[in-house]
């Protein structure tokens, strides 16, 4: 709407639709709408500009409440990448490897997906694209053994960054969540304060199940940041806001395509502007 009109239930309903359609979920949407209706009581004269600017301000405030974990690691930095099937883990690792390689760091990729067809070949191609090394063991019966060997090697060779790829898994698969927990323990065996960064990869098209994913994965290995992928599509990825709001896990990276350079650091202001568009 243009010009000043009185605040109404109708305007609040429109805002609610906007937030729910962006996958923020009912709880977060209602919390924000409540806030807006307190700030602009019914029949207060408002313009769409000041209502949206207020909402934008509130959303950015929410996103800035938890800072990203900036870990200055003396020695090898260990990054563990987890998430449900097809979310974009392997591709995102290729992007991160490229990022670190471009910073002049020595990078080692660990082929921790010992299960899926051609998973090793896929990660190998990414290691070649990024110009970094990869450690694998096709005979491995448990990903923890590949991870252990890779980390011991990285320690001896003083590798700057180790990025561990894991198989996709649903948080409802208990044995796979146990497997992840074991990988986490094995990482700690080699580097006591590792993983220095555990990234949960979340597809921007994910609905409310994303909250369950974050909650359950956190039980097997504490999650530091989200990598929100496929934001180059039509989905708004609002589930990442719901996860941040409920579990204090911030988005650190966003995926914007399928090439090595198609990633960026998460920018709350740009993201919220696009969300409310």
């Amino acid at each position: 709407f243009t010009g000043q009109i009185p605040m109404s239930e109708e305007i609040l309903d429109t805002l609610e639709a906007l937030l729910i359609e962006a996958d923020l979920g009912m709880d977060l949407a209602m919390e924000l709408i409540e806030d807006v209706s307190k700030h602009f009581p019914i029949s207060t004269p408002v313009t769409s500009k000041n209502v949206l600017e207020y909402l934008q301000k509130k959303l950015i405030q929410k996103l800035e409440k938890t800072n990203i974990k900036e870990v200055n690691v003396h020695g090898t930095k260990v990054v563990l990448v987890v998430g449900v099937n097809g979310s974009g883990k392997t591709t995102s690792i290729g992007k991160l490897a490229t990022l670190y390689a471009n910073e002049g760091k020595s990078v080692l990729l660990v082929a921790g997906d010992t299960f899926r067809a051609a998973a090793l070949e896929q990660l190998t191609i990414w290691s070649e694209r990024a110009g970094v090394e990869i450690i694998k063991n096709q005979a491995a019966t448990h990903p923890a053994s590949v991870v252990y060997d890779a980390l011991v090697s990285a320690k001896t060779r003083n590798i700057d960054v180790v990025i561990i790829d894991t198989a996709g898994r649903l948080h409802t698969q208990t044995h796979l969540m146990d497997e992840l927990e074991k990988v986490h323990r094995v990482v700690k065996k080699v580097f006591t304060d590792a993983p220095h960064e555990t990234i949960l990869v979340i597809d921007a098209t994910t609905g409310q199940n994303g909250l369950h994913q974050a909650e359950e994965f956190s039980k097997s290995t504490p999650i530091d940041h989200l990598f929100l992928t496929k934001l180059d599509g039509t989905a708004k990825g609002g589930i990442a806001l719901a996860i941040h709001n409920k579990l204090d896990i911030p988005v650190r990276y966003v995926g914007l395509g399928e090439k090595a350079s198609d990633m960026d650091y998460f920018n709350p202001t740009l993201y919220i502007k696009a969300l409310l568009d």
Partner: protein
């Protein structure tokens, strides 16, 4: 969970005889919460609730001694009816019959292609698969590996970048493979990528697959509608496979996609293991959506 919440809404008004507008609005709020938490699209949920409201204000409910139970039944029945029939039938005419799989990145197309091949063989057909994803690293290798695992022939060409040439050659070769069904796996793509949407439009135009299946991730949220609509506009798919339903996603996308495109979900992907897809049952899906 949903039905007990709804029961509680009506427990408060038992013995008062007639249902009031506010009773109905309390009930619809409960229904809406259940649908949105299940990832049913916002607008689809709104339309659905209007339908339910009309039926809920009908005589059977107003005179019922347990209006809550009546409304639960209306919601369940309406949901199942909306999601179509549970036939899982595919159009398999043609020599060979051609099935094409399309969808967003990572939705489960390649895995579902193998599952489809396995169930068709169980049904007495002789399927082969075609690797038409020339973009994703090791995509061809992935389909070839799955083909070997289940002993289903895969046609591929690691040098050819034109997917139409790959598909056309595969169809010509189907006789040599003694295959009566050709399953085409395509690359994941975004609906906003016009070049990639043109690619599948072209495949459809030139190959005339009788069965085009949209493979959607079962945990998709509100975007299910926009994406399904876009794919339907470009290739008019004839069925949907909803994957990763072995998880705890409620699967509201099943309702959203059907409501907006009119195309039914035919199969569910229930795991990473290559096994036949599960046939879609609307009533079971309705219960799952309602939680």
């Amino acid at each position: 969970q949903f039905s007990s919440n709804l029961e509680n809404v009506f427990k408060k008004i038992r013995g008062h005889g007639k249902l009031s507008e506010s009773n109905i609005s309390d009930a619809t709020r409960e229904i809406r919460r259940a649908l949105l938490e299940a990832d049913v699209n916002f607008k689809v949920a709104k339309d659905f609730i209007e339908k339910v409201k009309t039926k809920a204000l009908g005589d059977d409910v107003l005179r019922s001694i347990s209006p809550g139970q009546q409304i639960v039944k209306i919601v369940r029945d309406e949901l199942s009816a909306l999601m179509g029939d549970d036939s899982g039938d595919m159009h398999l005419s043609g020599s060979p019959a051609i099935i094409m799989l399309v969808g967003l990145q990572g939705s489960g197309k390649t895995t579902s292609a193998a599952k489809l091949a396995m169930q068709l063989r169980k049904q007495g057909r002789r399927p082969m698969m075609v690797a038409c994803d020339v973009y994703r690293p090791a995509a061809i290798k992935q389909l070839e590996t799955l083909g070997k695992q289940i002993d289903i022939p895969v046609y591929s060409n690691h040098q050819e970048k034109d997917v139409l040439k790959i598909a056309e050659t595969a169809i010509k070769e189907s006789v040599r493979f003694s295959a009566d069904t050709v399953i085409i796996d395509t690359a994941g793509r975004l609906t906003v990528d016009s070049a990639m949407m043109d690619e599948i439009k072209n495949l459809k135009t030139r190959l005339s697959p009788k069965e085009i299946l949209f493979v959607g991730d079962g945990m998709t949220g509100q975007d299910a509608v926009a994406t399904a609509q876009a794919f339907s506009d470009v290739v008019q798919f004839t069925g949907v496979i909803l994957t990763k339903m072995d998880g705890d996603a409620r699967g509201g996308a099943a309702l959203s996609i059907k409501a907006v495109t009119g195309i039914p979900v035919k199969f569910l992907g229930m795991g990473e293991k290559i096994q036949p897809l599960e046939v879609f049952h609307p009533s079971r899906m309705a219960d799952r959506i309602l939680g």
